[in-house]
Subunit: 117 residues, 2 copies
Amino acid sequence: MSNKKLYRGSLSTIILKLLGDNGRMYGYEITQRVKELTKGELKITEGALYPSLHKLEAEGHLQVEFEQVNNRMRKYYSLTEDGTKEVVNKLLEMEMFLQTMQGLLQPPLSSTTEFIP
Amino acid sequence: MSNKKLYRGSLSTIILKLLGDNGRMYGYEITQRVKELTKGELKITEGALYPSLHKLEAEGHLQVEFEQVNNRMRKYYSLTEDGTKEVVNKLLEMEMFLQTMQGLLQPPLSSTTEFIP
DNA sequence: TGCAATACCTAAAAACATTAGGTATATTAC
DNA sequence: GTAATATACCTAATGTTTTTAGGTATTGCA
């Protein structure tokens, strides 16, 4: 990911979610889709993406199909049965995290209870 | 942090925000406060906290005061002028991140536009 | 013809957290 | 009274994930 370092740890969740939504995707496609969806906010670097895909595959969450398109090879990834369960876990985990974070970082009471007539 | 690995990268933001809200805190206090505020969801480990505090201090965001309480030393941290600016940046960055993440991971259109009569 | 885009990949380094220790005092429980 | 828990600081080795910085090769556009 090129942007800030906050995205650390969330890459596999993003990959799994996208594959859950789209059925199957190839690596390069994932980088482009994320750029689109986040309006350029988040740019996944290939140095992070490919190792992450390989790890998810090794863990049994993803399966691979090769396809030749325009004389260029594409490696399509899709969720395994196990991967489908993993998406649910990861998304719940992420929701929990986002909530916890919002709770922690929202303005303190002293400033939210101010009365401005 | 004990929980999952999602918190990676957000520790310094949490520290700065807490110090912004509370004026000054010592390390151990920070771990306890975070545990309270997140109802046990997030447990900052000391192995993560202390190096992070030292780094923020080295970067000029925090300043230190020692105090002896009950025969035990406390190292109180507070924001420097520079640190006060940094809190704002970090919080904006984090808000951006949370929004981006929510946008990315919310249910896809195909499932939200379903019509159930 | 040369550069950007598409498409895959890896290895070294950096960043950050976990794990697992260490020191020391105070308080609570048995 | 003594052992465990809480308070309070710290570090070093390890592990995970990301960045940085390359590499290969084809296609399409200027």
